[in-house]
Symmetry: C2
């Protein structure tokens, strides 16, 4: 039987949730009841049918005892019942004409038991024979804000252009929430667990052609079919940037991955060359994954690597310069005429002030940051500007200091809107609740204005340098072909 596409995984008109509890949500997260709550709070546009043998009512919805009792058609089923019951449910789904099912439940191949492996083979076979598509088992399923599909009640309702596939549900949670904070919105996110049917290659193939998706990020612990994966990844990476984090690159990590999603091991070197040859962007941590997504989503490509650094703390500025150079960017010295222009605003000899690149506003910079940034960006020798704000250096967060910091951020936003050269913002050293709250406020302003925001200069420099490298390679590839 030829496999159906993933249309109904992302575009169901009706969803049944099997295993909801009328007792409400407890402490556990991966339950059918939490999925129902998420679907309702995300505003799912189609019909929702809770299912539980006991019947009753939940959130104003009638609870059906069995999927067969649902009067209308059901496109998509979310399954939160125990593993041994799953094959029967899938059989019922097939009988009902269900197009796709997401299985939250664990206790399959990742358990390492013979019984678990056999159950997984059983549902995998049912999928192959019937054509029903199965996401999972052992996963959080689909977040597709356009349709109102969601596995977190707090996920944003707005759509964006970033797609994420992640075997791990926890890592998907992190990417969505940290991405949200950084101004990222998503087209589709899939936590696909053990991948007994829908796998990384199916998902990449779908997303490569998905017009809502501009950037793809993936957290992968293992692949079902290495050759197909390489081929699909290479095709996908031709169409759009694909950022990949491989979990389980060490032997012990692979063992952990096997207990987590039943993934098979393969060495870091194999992955390195595979991803490189396929044209994907390999990252080594979730933080780096989000940094790359932020860069690809929000930074426009600078015309070169010559960087202006503007900041407010001498020591941080020195380290920032080292970080940028080490990452492969350049921090060119300013000619005298630019330094003279800056001196018109910044009092040379004031504590911490530096006029050369990096430019350090010290605590003189409250009302001149716009002018200094403008002088730097207007200078032909600079391709982009990094503005850094280490909040941990401030002793007092009086209303005056707070509004002075906000006004610096507003100046940076103003110059970002006016200049045709890109600007990035790094807000770091958040040492207390007050600094954290102020950072969130500043980040929100920057994100709303379309600026890329980072939490560490080291990471920002690396991400920006890799972004420039990527585009350089693409250009060379296109020239060669």
């Amino acid at each position: 039987m030829i496999k159906q596409g993933l249309h109904y995984v992302f575009n169901p008109k009706s969803v049944a949730i099997v295993g909801v509890s009328t007792k409400g949500v407890g402490l556990q997260q991966a339950t059918a009841t939490v999925f129902l709550e998420s679907l309702l709070s995300c505003g799912f546009k189609g019909k929702v049918y809770p299912v539980n043998p006991k019947g009753g009512e939940i959130s104003g919805l009638r609870v059906y005892p069995n999927i067969k009792d649902i009067p209308g058609a059901v496109d998509y089923v979310i399954c939160g019942i125990s593993a041994p019951q799953v094959p029967q449910l899938i059989t019922d789904c097939i009988a009902k004409g269900v197009k796709a099912a997401h299985i939250i439940t664990s206790g399959f191949s990742e358990s390492g038991t013979e019984g678990g492996k056999q159950l997984e083979q059983e549902i995998s076979l049912l999928a192959r024979q019937s054509g029903i598509r199965i996401v999972g088992p052992n996963c959080m399923g689909v977040y597709c804000p356009e349709m109102g599909l969601s596995f977190g009640p707090d996920f944003p309702k707005e759509s964006g252009s970033v797609a994420v596939i992640s075997q791990s549900g926890g890592n998907a949670f992190y990417i969505i929430r940290e991405g949200f904070r950084r101004g990222i919105r998503f087209s589709k996110v899939v936590s696909y667990g053990n991948a007994c049917d829908v796998d990384e290659s199916d998902l990449l193939e779908y997303l490569a052609c998905d017009s809502d998706t501009r950037i793809i990020a993936a957290y992968i612990e293992g692949v079902n079919d290495g050759r197909r994966f390489y081929r699909v990844l290479k095709e996908t990476a031709k169409a759009k940037p694909v950022i990949v984090l491989k979990g389980g690159i060490t032997e012990a990590g692979a063992r952990a991955a096997a207990s987590h999603t039943g993934a098979l091991a393969s060495s870091s070197k194999v992955w390195d060359s595979l991803l490189h040859q396929a044209g994907a962007i390999r990252v080594c941590s979730l933080e780096e994954l989000v940094d790359m997504v932020v860069t690809f989503s929000r930074l426009s490509l600078p015309s070169g690597r010559d960087l202006g650094i503007l900041g407010v703390c001498g020591g941080a500025t020195v380290l920032a310069t080292d970080d940028c150079i080490s990452a492969g960017l350049a921090v060119p010295r300013f000619p005298t005429k630019i330094q003279d222009k800056l001196e018109g605003y910044l009092k040379k000899g004031s504590i911490g002030v530096s006029l050369n690149n990096p430019v350090d506003l010290s605590d003189q910079g409250w009302d001149i940051s716009y002018d200094c940034a403008k002088i730097m960006l207007d200078y032909g020798g600079i391709d982009l500007l990094i503005f850094q704000l280490p909040l941990g250096i401030f002793s007092r967060f009086s209303a005056g200091i707070r509004s002075a910091i906000i006004s610096i951020i507003e100046d940076v936003i103003k110059i970002h809107k006016e200049s045709n050269k890109p600007t990035a913002v790094v807000i770091h050293s958040l040492v207390s609740s007050k600094t954290y709250q102020l950072a969130l406020d500043c980040e929100r302003k920057c994100c709303d204005a379309g600026l890329p925001v980072y939490h560490s200069l080291t990471n920002a420099a690396k991400a920006i340098a890799r972004f420039i490298d990527y585009h350089g390679q693409r250009r060379r590839m296109l020239e060669e072909s």
Copy 2:
């Protein structure tokens, strides 16, 4: 003239602050008025004399027009007046019998101007001729909680055993505040700027013999006398761990350092071999510096590298394992008997649960984390335990979830107190104000109980592996000598 020691830099009985303003503090941080405020709020034990030609009163203290007008002896002077006025002030200090002076003021050699360089030479010569010791210029000076000396009004009043020397004031702010959050308390912190008199070697020599100091961390942009520095560092590193961050390791970074503290350039390789041969611990970022300080202060030495990882999110646990192995730790597989014991508590086949090392409590672990941690630490094949809590995975922070998370932390603290093997805690993925506040609460509990706390597993693994390496090298050195 033989230089006096630094006794009065850290133990003045009376302090005059020159250049205070009776108009109160503004937005600037590095002013004499902020220093006065810091001294008073930190509870300085000696006499405090504000100085300003206009006289008057500030914070209930009489303001003297000139240092010469102060009736009693003055041990220490903090100077916040403009650079050209500084030599005259130092001359007055010498006449008054002042033992040490801290010059906040900038506009000296770091300005790059001939005038600035000359002024610095002038005060340096005055110090050499008279024996008065000068900290600075262009710096934040001394924080010594035991004496109540401080340059931040919010700095903790309790003393500790960590000393920090930092050319940069901003970096010193970060280290103190981030350290405070992580349970670190300080013996002495010195921001020493351009080092026209008191330099890195003087400070290290003093701190090597300082019985209040157990660990030393340094942020250095340049050294005055390379040979002496190497000799002193080597002697100091024999006595106690010395953690060094070198700012300005790239050409552009060195240029930034020159504008920041007038430091001279030297290559990263030179520093690498110098620090290695001297037995110091080189770090590459402020975050790593604090992580190493936390590790040396709070982790007891594990008897080996075999690590147990206990966590609450599958994907994060897989990545954690990769991080630990990559850093040079081992994550041994558990024998069946240990897995069986764990299975007595953890339901195998529940979503996310893993019984092998790493152990993943998933969301089943609310009331069994103590038992699971105990099984792991009681097992002879494990030398230490890392507990990780990625807060970003939780969807709702209901009172129930909050108290469940706090109770897991209390379980970890309980096992830490009972076991003779060390435990470290990593609380990460703080994606919102709520996660941040909860992290702070959890961190505080852990810090109060003496646990080392980290913000990232990658960084925790690196710091712990380096800590074990350091002690291994020390042991070999002692055996050889």
